[in-house]
């Protein structure tokens, strides 16, 4: 056994806990998880069945943690996990799973399959079987500070643009404010409107906030590739900055996995609860709206629909907020089928969009979303994740669909009643 494989197998053994042992014990191979997975429904290929993607981890569990499995291994009746097998599984684990969590919602025996795939990736990454693009993104995130290689000067340039456009000063390194605002690389590069929208909304609502020079990036390639040690290093930058600036709350931007990384995995990666709150931007905007601090005027007449980012809705619990916010400014908001916690993924979450070799499959998987959007008859698609947004923009273009994708924060800012500053 080579050193990488040994490291991978050790990582597999380490991640197996009581829930995973229970999940594997419960699986009766009914195959219903396939019916919830867009990689199966859109391709019809059985290998994309979610529980099948876990086969290497299942065998490690059986051989290491069950009496019958140990006996079978002793008698040479069970197959060891090999490098070749992990290489074969790599595309199943990374290219055809967005960690969307839909399978976990339908499994009749209650297996949280997504929980297991996230853990499986730890062993895959440790054994050297992660996609090269994800390895690159994670390396950049650790060494440069951002998976897309963005440094503070690029953020500063955007701040200057925003300040020029809005006439509002963007606070940087302000201590003892309420909120520390983070962004995703995608927002810094592709969607500068997010920061502008936020500046305007926060000014109107009288919110005290700041950006931090050493912690502006919210995304975390470490949790996508499955390298907890690196994920911890990335998340610790935010924790250190939030503690240093003594903020009450850190706002996760319009990004799905960043929210999961900081809100749910963050304290576990750091090994301690946070001294500050973590909220998704939609939660903050909804709270401001309920408190009467987010005032809007005029309403959007366009028929529009909302795409629930998986990590925000199903894996994050932010479901009602975007609906309340949308209904405040939109006259013709139409729900997609299966909206909310049973939404269908855009096809590019969980690191898939960062993995260039997975693009043809991602575009094929998008066909489900395509059908859902077409059924609503809208030409405006609102979402709250920059990754979903870029994936859907690319996919819509690929399918020659004339649908505009808008971030919810940006849409709200369009209808901001800036005269009524409290």
């Amino acid at each position: 056994m080579n050193a990488n494989l040994a490291r991978g197998i050790n990582a597999f053994k380490e991640v197996i806990d009581a829930p995973i042992a229970s999940f594997f014990s419960s699986c009766v191979h009914c195959g219903l998880c396939a019916e919830a997975c867009l990689f199966y429904t859109e391709t019809g290929e059985a290998k994309y069945t979610p529980i099948h993607k876990l086969e290497p981890l299942r065998r490690i569990w059986q051989q290491e943690y069950t009496l019958t499995g140990k006996l079978a291994k002793l008698l040479g009746l069970s197959k060891s996990v090999t490098d070749e097998e992990l290489a074969e599984w790599e595309p199943l684990v990374y290219d055809s799973c967005t960690l969307c969590g839909r399978c976990s919602m339908v499994c009749p025996v209650g297996n949280d399959i997504t929980y297991m795939i996230r853990k499986l990736r730890e062993g895959m990454a440790a054994s050297g079987h992660a996609p090269p693009d994800l390895i690159g993104a994670t390396t950049r995130a650790v060494t440069i500070g951002s998976p897309m290689g963005i440094k503070w000067p690029a953020v500063l340039a955007q701040i200057k643009h925003v300040e020029k456009d809005t006439g509002i000063t963007v606070p940087v390194e302000q201590a003892c404010v309420d909120y520390l605002v983070l962004m995703s690389s995608m927002e810094i590069i592709n969607f500068p409107e997010y920061l502008a929208a936020l500046s305007r909304i926060f000014k109107q609502a009288g919110v005290s906030w700041t950006l931090a020079q050493d912690a502006f990036e919210a995304t975390n390639s470490g949790i996508q590739i499955g390298a907890s040690d690196l994920a911890r290093e990335i998340v610790s930058r935010i924790v250190v900055a939030a503690d240093r600036l003594k903020v009450k709350c850190v706002i996760s931007p319009e990004c799905g996995h960043a929210f999961t990384a900081l809100r749910w995995e963050g304290p576990n990666l750091m090994g301690r609860p946070f001294g500050f709150e973590v909220k998704h931007i939609l939660e903050v905007l909804d709270e401001l709206s309920i408190a009467g601090r987010l005032k809007t005027k005029g309403r959007d007449q366009r028929p529009l629909t909302y795409h629930d980012p998986c990590q925000i809705a199903r894996r994050g619990g932010v479901v009602e907020q975007p609906r309340r916010l949308l209904n405040a400014v939109a006259d013709d908001f139409r729900e997609m089928s299966d909206a909310g916690t049973m939404n269908w993924c855009c096809g590019g979450g969980g690191g898939v969009s960062a993995n260039s070799r997975a693009e043809p499959l991602m575009l094929q998987a998008f066909r489900h979303k395509k059908g859902q959007i077409e059924a609503t008859g809208v030409s405006t698609l609102v979402t709250a994740c920059a990754n979903c947004r870029i994936v859907m923009e690319e996919s819509l273009e690929h399918y020659h669909m004339k649908v505009e994708v808008v971030g919810l924060t940006e849409l709200l800012a369009q209808y901001l009643d800036e005269d009524k500053t409290p």
């Binding site: 019916e35 943690y65 009749p108 209650g110 929980y115 995995e265 576990n268 809705a313």
Partner: protein
């Protein structure tokens, strides 16, 4: 050994051994699972999620919206077989008598003709599930020896019970002994095969509901 001796053995020491192995196996398997432990979740729960695990234990018995349409065979045959098996095991008067003789517990059974019909429905459902498993690409890919073994272990008691009830195949005493042996085989292997899902299903659903509940999602 004449058929009556065989039946006495099947009802007596064989059953006792089978039950003991079953219970010991269940304890061992639960130790294997719980022994692995689980790290405390240090993230702040969104809502007070007490009870979310228990809720999912029950709510997961119903299919998620749109799922029946996607795989009606698995759902319908699955329900018929699981509910049917429960009825046959716990609502057939001689079974209740047998359980009472061992535990002292007693309850009213259902008419034997009804239980007979349910047994037939369960056997048909099991056959449908086997055909489905052999023909559906996903199920065929996933299935291995353990899946077919679990299927056979479940079918045998139903089939032998049906044959004994109708005085078919062998003389009644022998058939009843075979029925009991098939049940004993099922009991002995239950903890070590896919059949153990009958216990871990509650655990898995609880974990799933608890994990999602912390995030404010009803799973």
């Amino acid at each position: 050994m004449n058929p009556l001796d065989l039946l006495t053995f099947a009802r007596g020491s064989a059953m006792n051994w089978a039950l003991m192995i079953c219970v010991a196996g269940i304890v061992l398997r639960l130790f294997e699972i719980f022994g692995l432990g689980r790290k405390a979740d240090l993230s702040r729960a969104r809502t007070v999620s007490t009870g979310s695990g228990w809720r999912t234990v029950f709510t997961r018995s119903w299919p998620a919206a749109g799922m029946i349409k996607r795989d009606p065979v698995t759902y319908l045959a699955g329900y018929v077989f699981h509910i049917g098996l429960m009825i046959v095991v716990f609502c057939y008067a001689p079974h209740i008598d047998f359980i009472r003789s061992m535990t002292g517990l007693n309850w009213r059974g259902l008419p034997s003709t009804l239980v007979d019909a349910v047994a037939v429905a369960s056997i048909i459902a099991l056959l449908a599930l086997l055909v489905h498993r052999l023909t559906h690409p996903v199920k065929r890919l996933l299935s291995g020896f353990g899946d077919y073994l679990a299927w056979g272990l479940t079918l045998l008691p139903l089939l032998t019970g049906y044959l004994a009830f109708h005085h078919q195949l062998f003389e009644y005493t022998l058939m009843l002994s075979l029925h009991l042996f098939s049940v004993e085989l099922l009991l002995v292997l239950l903890p070590f095969t896919k059949l153990f899902h009958s216990f871990t299903v509650f655990l898995s659903r609880w974990y799933n509901g608890e994990i999602a509940g912390r995030k404010g999602v009803a799973s």
